[in-house]
C-alpha cells in the first residue's frame, strides 16, 4: 500500500525526522492561506501516488501567496502523467504547500528488504535528488549500503558508518545518522517494504531536512497498523482494482481484450504469456489465490465481465488449495446473475477436478473446454480471430 508524500512526511515527523514546514491544500485559496502563514517563498507539490512528478510539471515554486494560489489552481484537477502513472495519468486532488528550504547538500536515503541477503538494507548516496536506479546506473560507486542483522537490529555504529561515507562535516554526519536511525524505526515499526527520502537535504544551517518522503507498506502487515490503513486514498486506485481488493482478489488492469481468471500468480503470469504467444493481448492479471471461496470466484468472474474491453475470457485453474468444485460453483453463481456474451474457454485440472467439471457441465454455461495449455492456446487464438472478424 502506498500513501501520499504529505502523509509520509507526517509519519516521518512523528518519528523525529525533520521535515519542511507546510500543509496540504485542496483549493487554491487554501494554498494561498498556507503560503501567507508561512511568510516565505513556497513550493507547491502535486500529491499523487507516483514518482517523477517534478519532470511532469507537478512541482512548482511560488515567491508570493498570490503565486502560490495560481500554482495550486494550475495543478489541482489536472491529470499528471509521469513515467510511473501509465499513459492515463493521475488526477491531482491535493497539493502540499511547503516553505522553500535553502539546499546545501542533497542526499539519497532508502531502506528496503534485500531478498538475496534476506535482511533489510539501508542505502545512502551523496547523489541525492536522482532516482536510485539512475544513480545505480551512472555512479554505482556512490551508493553505500548497510545490511541489518535481524538478531540485533540497526546499531548506532552502522548508522554513523553509513553517514560518514557521505562526505559531510561532523555535525552533519551526526544529523544524518540520526535520520537513518529514525527511518529504520519507521521501516520496522510500520512493516514497510520501502522507506525513502530523496532528497534528504542539509540546509544552510547544517540541519538535515527530508524534502521528499516515500513509503510503501507491506499489505500483509497492515493488520497490525489500523493507523496506516486509515491513510488509504481511494481516489488513487483504479475502481476495478479497488473492487477486487475488497474481495481479496489480486487484479491488475491491462490493455488487452482477453480477460483471464487464474489461480496462482505464477500460472497467471504464464497464462498472460500464453495469451500473447497465441497472438492476443491479456486484458488483465487476475489471481484468485489459493484461499478463494465461491464468493471470491463469483466476484472475480463478474469483474472480468464488467470490463468493456474484454471480448473473450480464459479460465485457467490448476486446483490445489483452491478446489475445482469451489471454482465451478463460483462461476455458476456469477453466470446465474448476468448473461455472458463473450466466448469462455475453461481449462480445469487438479484437486476435485471431476466434481468441478460436472458442476460446470450442468450449469448451462456455454464454454469451450481445453484439456491442456496447448489446446487452450489454440482456442484463444481462434476466439480472438472470430471476434476480430
Amino acid at each position: 500500500m502506498n500513501i501520499h508524500e504529505y502523509q509520509a512526511k507526517e509519519l516521518f515527523s512523528s518519528f523525529g525526522i525533520p521535515i519542511p514546514e507546510g500543509r496540504v491544500a485542496t483549493t487554491p485559496a487554501a494554498a494561498e492561506k498556507i503560503a501567507t502563514e508561512l511568510a516565505s517563498p513556497v513550493v507547491i507539490k502535486a500529491q499523487i501516488h507516483a514518482g517523477g512528478r517534478g519532470k511532469a510539471g507537478g512541482v512548482k515554486r511560488a515567491a508570493s501567496p498570490e503565486a502560490a494560489r495560481a500554482a495550486a489552481a494550475e495543478l489541482l484537477g489536472r491529470t499528471l502523467v509521469t513515467h510511473q502513472t501509465g499513459p492515463a495519468g493521475k488526477i491531482v486532488h491535493k497539493v502540499l504547500v511547503e516553505r522553500v528550504a535553502a539546499v546545501k547538500t542533497e542526499i539519497y536515503l532508502g531502506i528496503t528488504i534485500d531478498r538475496t541477503q534476506r535482511v533489510p538494507v539501508i542505502m545512502a548516496s551523496p547523489a541525492g535528488g536522482m532516482e536510485i536506479e539512475q544513480i545505480a546506473d551512472e555512479s554505482p560507486d556512490k551508493i553505500f549500503k548497510e545490511w541489518i542483522h535481524p538478531e540485533i537490529g540497526l546499531r548506532p555504529f552502522q548508522a554513523y558508518r553509513l553517514a560518514l561515507k557521505l562526505g559531510l562535516d561532523a555535525a552533519e554526519t551526526r544529523a544524518v545518522a540520526q535520520v537513518i536511525t529514525a527511518l529504520h524505526r519507521v521501516f520496522v515499526d510500520k512493516d514497510c517494504l520501502l522507506v525513502e527520502t530523496n532528497p534528504l537535504i542539509i540546509d544552510n544551517n547544517g540541519a538535515a531536512l527530508a524534502l521528499d518522503a516515500k513509503i510503501n507498506f507491506d499489505d500483509n502487515g497492515l493488520f497490525r497498523h489500523p493507523d496506516i490503513v486509515a491513510l488509504r486514498d481511494p481516489a488513487e486506485e483504479d475502481p476495478l482494482e479497488s473492487a477486487a481488493r475488497k474481495s481479496n482478489l489480486n487484479y491488475v488492469k491491462l490493455h488487452g481484450n482477453v480477460g483471464c481468471l487464474v489461480n496462482g500468480a505464477g500460472l497467471a503470469m504464464a497464462t498472460m504469456d500464453l495469451i500473447k504467444l497465441a497472438g492476443a493481448e491479456p486484458a488483465n492479471f487476475l489471481d484468485v489465490g489459493g484461499g478463494a471461496n465461491e464468493d471470491m470466484i463469483e466476484q472475480g468472474f463478474s469483474l472480468l465481465l464488467s470490463d468493456p474491453d474484454v471480448n473473450a475470457v480464459f479460465i485457467n485453474i490448476f486446483g490445489g488449495i483452491l478446489r475445482c468444485d469451489i471454482l465451478a460453483r463460483g462461476i455458476v453463481a456469477a453466470v446465474s446473475r448476468r448473461s455472458v456474451d463473450v466466448p469462455v474457454i475453461v481449462r480445469l485440472e487438479g484437486t476435485n477436478v471431476e466434481q468441478g467439471r460436472e458442476i460446470l457441465d450442468r450449469s448451462g454455461l456455454h464454454f469451450q473446454r481445453a484439456n491442456d495449455l496447448a489446446e487452450a492456446a489454440a482456442l484463444i487464438a481462434r476466439a480472438v480471430q472470430e471476434v476480430a472478424q
Binding site: E151, D218, M272, K276, G291, G319, A376
Partner: protein
C-alpha cells in the same frame, strides 16, 4: 531415494483443526503420508482423521517424535508457528501460509539459519515425493514416481509442469514449491544441491518467474557444473514492468529481475529454457 521427504517422514500438522488443515490432512493421509500429530492451541485431546491433536508443539514432539512440520495457520500467527516448530527441534518446516508479513519472515529466517532448521516456503504448495509422501496441497493423482526433480516458485505452475510430465509417462523424484514470497527458506540453489546428490533424480525442471534473483543464482550454480540436465520456464515475460503481479516476489525492479535477464543467465549456464508454459513436458522428454 528422493529429497526432503519420503515414506519415513513423520509429519506434524500445525493448524490441523482449521478448514484447510483438516481437508489437506485427510488428503495427505489418503496419499499415504505418515501424519503423526497435529497442533492447535486450545484443541489438545481432539482427533482429526484419527490423528491426535496437541495444544503445543512441545507436547506433540514429546509424544510422537515428528521429523517434519507443516504450517497451515493464518498469516498473523504463522511466524510464531514456524518458530515453535524450530523450538521443538523439528529440522524441516514446510509453511503453506500465504500472506505472512515480510518483517516476520526476516526474523524467522535468521532464527532458522542460526538453529540449522530447513524451511520450505512460506506461500508454497509444499513438497511431494510421488508414491512415498505428500506434504502439501498438490493433487496427488497428477504425480508419478520417476526420475525428474521439479522445483518452482509458483504453486499452480508447478502442478502444470508435473501434469505435462505425467501425461508423457515421465515420473518425478520430488517436486518442491520453494514459495513465492520475498523471503523464503530453501532456494533453487539449495534444492539443486539436494537434487545433485540424489540418485533417483536424472533431470530437473526449474519454473521461475520475474522478480528477485533466485533464477540468476541458480544459473550461476548450474553453470559451475551441475551434473544433470535442466529445463526451465520463466513466467512473466509479458508482464508490464513496475506492476505488482500477485506474488510480492513478482515486482520487476531493475534489470536483474526481468524475464529476459533470467532466461539469458539460464541459457548461458546450459539450461534449456522453453518460451511457452505448454512446452515444458516436451522439452523434458527431449533431454531424458
Amino acid at each position: 531415494m528422493s529429497i526432503l521427504v519420503d515414506e519415513n517422514t513423520r509429519v506434524l500438522v500445525q493448524g490441523i483443526t482449521g478448514r484447510e488443515g483438516r481437508f489437506h490432512t485427510e488428503q495427505m493421509l489418503a496419499y499415504g503420508t505418515k501424519i503423526v500429530a497435529g497442533v492447535t492451541p486450545g484443541k489438545g485431546g481432539q482427533q482429526v482423521a484419527g490423528v491426535p491433536v496437541f495444544d503445543t508443539v512441545a507436547q506433540a514432539v514429546a509424544e510422537t517424535s515428528p521429523t517434519a512440520a507443516m504450517v497451515f495457520v493464518p498469516p498473523r500467527f504463522a511466524a510464531d508457528a514456524i518458530l515453535e516448530a524450530a523450538d521443538g527441534s523439528i529440522k524441516l518446516v514446510i509453511c503453506l501460509t500465504e500472506g505472512i508479513p515480510v518483517h516476520d519472515m526476516v526474523q524467522v529466517r535468521r532464527y532458522l539459519d542460526i538453529h540449522a532448521v530447513k524451511l520450505i516456503g512460506p506461500n508454497t504448495p509444499g513438497v511431494i515425493s510421488p508414491g512415498k509422501a505428500k506434504l502439501g496441497l498438490m493433487a496427488g493423482y497428477i504425480h508419478q514416481p520417476g526420475p525428474v526433480g521439479v522445483m518452482s516458485r509458483s504453486g499452480t505452475l508447478n502442478y502444470e509442469a508435473v501434469h505435462q510430465l505425467s501425461q508423457r509417462g515421465i515420473g518425478q523424484s520430488t517436486c518442491v514449491g520453494i514459495g513465492g514470497d520475498p523471503i523464503i527458506g530453501l532456494s533453487f540453489t539449495d534444492i539443486l544441491e539436494l537434487f545433485a546428490a540424489d540418485d533417483q533424480t536424472k533431470a530437473v525442471v526449474l519454473i521461475g518467474e520475474i522478480g528477485g534473483n533466485a533464477e540468476e543464482e541458480a544459473a550461476r550454480y548450474i553453470g559451475a557444473g551441475f551434473p544433470k540436465p535442466v529445463v526451465a520456464f520463466i513466467a512473466g515475460r509479458t508482464a508490464p514492468p513496475g506492476r505488482r503481479m500477485g506474488h510480492a516476489g513478482a515486482i520487476v525492479t531493475g534489470a536483474s529481475g526481468t524475464a529476459d535477464a533470467k532466461i539469458a543467465a539460464l541459457e548461458t549456464a546450459g539450461v534449456k529454457v522453453v518460451p511457452s508454459p505448454a512446452d515444458i513436458g516436451a522439452a523434458v522428454a527431449a533431454v531424458m
